[in-house]
């Protein structure tokens, strides 16, 4: 007995470390592409296609970042040390504006989507009207079409309204794109709030608006945060609509990244640098919102 009890803890410890190792292995598998992409962004062009591939970057360089984010022209990077640097040279490789465009469009479209879909979700959750049941299907149906099938008619609509290549247009299309999902997600959060709370408040003399602003909104901060994260990320990574509905005036990261693929070759280093840099704003946004996510989840329980 005594020996069995003595061996059990070590057996357990062994079990735990195997489990941890397995978990880290899975994490590593998922993180590897990200690592590889970052390492590509830090390589010289000739090191990108090493044969056999090298796991570690032979010589780290910030050249790609300088070209993409600071606008130092590619040719000048080689003579950088001599001091002949051309800052902000407008060239096809200067992609910092696309990052700013992405932030602007992502934040604005997320705010618009949230404002509209919160009201829609409340109505769908709490009010009965003719066609109530079909409504949700119709809201979702726009997402059932492949985006390509939506992009073309949208192009004609946008051209008619003069929205092609405008920020308004880009924000609007992303808001529209995210609307169905946000409505469904927020509706499920509102559905979780007992109806009786609305009813008690109305008997207490509250109007629908008061119920919505004083009771519903504060109770679903977590849900709003979750919806915000999803909307922002979808807008951040969206490619097709921006490609087809804008030209030189509006340029988001995914579209800018695609311009590094040219008929004469692909600038892998620049593409990697831009997209790695693009992880950061999205990451900051999610971290900011995540605070509310966690708070939203624990609000219901004690403290």
């Amino acid at each position: 007995m005594a020996t069995a009890q003595k061996t059990r803890p070590t057996w357990r410890a062994w079990q735990l470390s195997v489990r941890a190792a397995a978990a880290w292995a899975v994490v590593a598998v998922f993180m590897f592409p990200l690592y590889w992409w970052i390492s590509v962004s830090l390589r010289h062009d000739q090191d990108i296609f090493n044969k056999p591939p090298k796991l570690f970057t032979p010589e780290v360089t910030l050249k790609s970042y300088k070209v993409v984010l600071l606008g130092i022209s590619p040719s000048s990077t080689s003579i950088e040390k001599s001091g002949a640097v051309h800052w902000g040279e407008s060239s096809a490789t200067f992609a910092l504006p696309s990052l700013l465009d992405s932030v602007y469009i992502g934040v604005a479209s997320t705010l618009i989507t949230l404002a509209v879909s919160l009201l829609a979700a409340y109505a769908l959750s709490r009010m009965r009207f003719a066609g109530h049941h079909h409504f949700i299907f119709w809201v979702l149906s726009t997402r059932m079409l492949p985006p390509v099938a939506v992009a073309l008619p949208m192009f004609f609509l946008f051209r008619e309204f003069g929205l092609i290549d405008t920020y308004t247009g880009a924000i609007l299309i992303h808001a529209l794109m995210n609307f169905p999902l946000a409505v469904l997600l927020l509706k499920s959060f509102i559905d979780d709030i007992p109806r009786e709370i609305d009813e008690a408040a109305m008997l207490d003399g509250a109007s629908r608006i008061t119920v919505f602003t004083r009771l519903i909104l504060p109770s679903m901060r977590g849900g709003i945060a979750a919806a915000a994260v999803l909307c922002f990320v979808f807008s951040w990574t969206e490619f097709l609509f921006i490609l087809s509905l804008t030209q030189a005036g509006v340029n988001t990261v995914p579209v800018a990244a695609s311009t590094f693929v040219t008929s004469t070759g692909t600038a892998w280093g620049y593409m990697a640098a831009l997209t790695c840099a693009a992880v950061l704003p999205a990451f900051i946004f999610i971290v900011l919102v995540q605070k509310h996510l966690v708070r939203g989840l624990t609000l219901g329980s004690l403290k």
Binding site: P194, E196, E199, A200, M202, L203, G205
Partner: protein, 358 residues
């Protein structure tokens, strides 16, 4: 002036009738209990009175005025929900003050009123707590306080005690009753618990399948149930309903002759109803006439009394007798009992309505 009058209220959901032409008059200051099994439409009727649900037909008057086209907030009724529906992110104080703030009362008035109500319900020490930090009984109290704080014309309670444990339930039951005596606000109280109905109600309305079976004082409903359903629904253990044939001065059930009340019919089939505690063991040649023989099947001690399940012939009968009497009985024993003739309910076997003239 705050009586509630329901005229021909009908309601159906997706073509399934829930309420069927309900007529009801709740008097000013009355405590009316709606009693009925699950799904009979009690909550629906209450919610229609509150304005949370719209009736398909009929009309509601509160305090003499039709309220059918009024929003719930204009009806000046307060409701206590089964799950309390407290505002989760507000403190107890804010929960109580919410309705007054919405009415834009002066802050000093709000504070005075909230403290007054909290004093009655003993909630002051919880003012800063969130609902999630309260026990079930405390939440129930906050829900009542929230209803009381604005002096509504009518209180509506929808099974407010069903989430409490048995002891707390009987305590709060008494508190609600004494609050009603103090405030005498017209109250409609929904429950499926007959003890709550009998102890609290000035009148009880027994419902079944969206209709009213009987409205009366607890005594009327218990002592002269209008039909077999009401008789069975109220009273515990359940009333014995035995099929028999009236024959002159008695009712023959399974070959045994049971006594009849005064003024009973003298012939024909009948359902013979008698409550378990209106049966007594025959003490030798008892003064109550006509002892009846039965065989014990099993007994259930319940503390002060013993419930005896016995067989007559085909039919079963249940007696509730004193502990001392019941202790002697064992399964298989044959014993004789007498029936209190003043406590017999006869029902028509077809309509199941009460036929005793009284």
């Amino acid at each position: 002036m705050s009586q509630v009058i329901c005229r021909d209220i009908s309601k159906s959901y997706a073509h399934v009738g829930v309420l069927n032409r309900v007529n009801l008059e709740v008097h000013e200051g009355e405590f009316l209990v709606m009693l009925g099994p699950s799904g009979c439409g009690k909550s629906t009727l209450l919610r229609i009175i509150a304005g949370l649900e719209r009736q398909d037909g009929g009309s509601i008057r509160i305090g003499g005025r039709p309220v059918d086209d009024m929003h719930p907030r204009e009806r000046d009724v307060a409701m206590v929900f089964q799950n309390y529906a407290l505002y989760p992110l507000m403190s107890v104080y804010e929960n109580l003050a919410f309705s007054l703030k919405i009415r834009k009362l002066p802050a000093a008035n709000i504070d005075r009123r909230v403290r007054e109500v909290a004093g009655i319900l003993g909630l002051e020490q919880h003012f800063n707590h969130r609902p999630a930090q309260l026990s079930g009984g405390q939440r129930q109290r906050v829900a009542m306080g929230r209803a009381m704080v604005r002096n509504p014309r009518v209180f509506l309670f929808d099974e407010p005690l069903s989430n409490l444990d048995a002891r707390l339930r009987s305590k709060v039951r008494g508190e609600i009753k004494s609050l009603h005596l103090a405030l005498s606000t017209t109250t409609i109280y929904v429950t499926h618990d007959q003890i709550e109905a009998l102890t609290m109600g000035d009148r009880i309305m027994v419902m079944k399948n969206g209709g009213i079976e009987q409205i009366g004082t607890p005594d009327e409903v218990y002592l002269s149930p209008a039909n077999r359903y009401v008789a069975t629904f109220i009273g515990s253990p359940e009333i014995n309903i035995l099929a028999g044939v009236v024959d002159g001065d008695g009712c023959v059930i399974d070959g045994r002759k049971f006594p009849l009340p005064a003024g009973a019919p003298t012939a024909g089939k009948a359902l013979y109803g008698v409550r378990p505690h209106d049966l007594m063991l025959a003490a030798g040649a008892g003064e109550e006439s006509m002892p009846v023989a039965a065989t014990v099947e099993f007994t259930e001690p319940t503390g002060g009394a013993v419930i005896v399940h016995a067989a007559l012939g085909e039919q079963k009968i249940v007696l509730q007798i004193s502990h001392d009497d019941g202790r002697a009985l064992a399964p298989g024993d044959t014993f004789r009992f007498t029936v209190n003739p003043r406590k017999i309910h006869l029902f028509d076997p077809h309509t199941e309505r009460r036929i005793t003239a009284e």
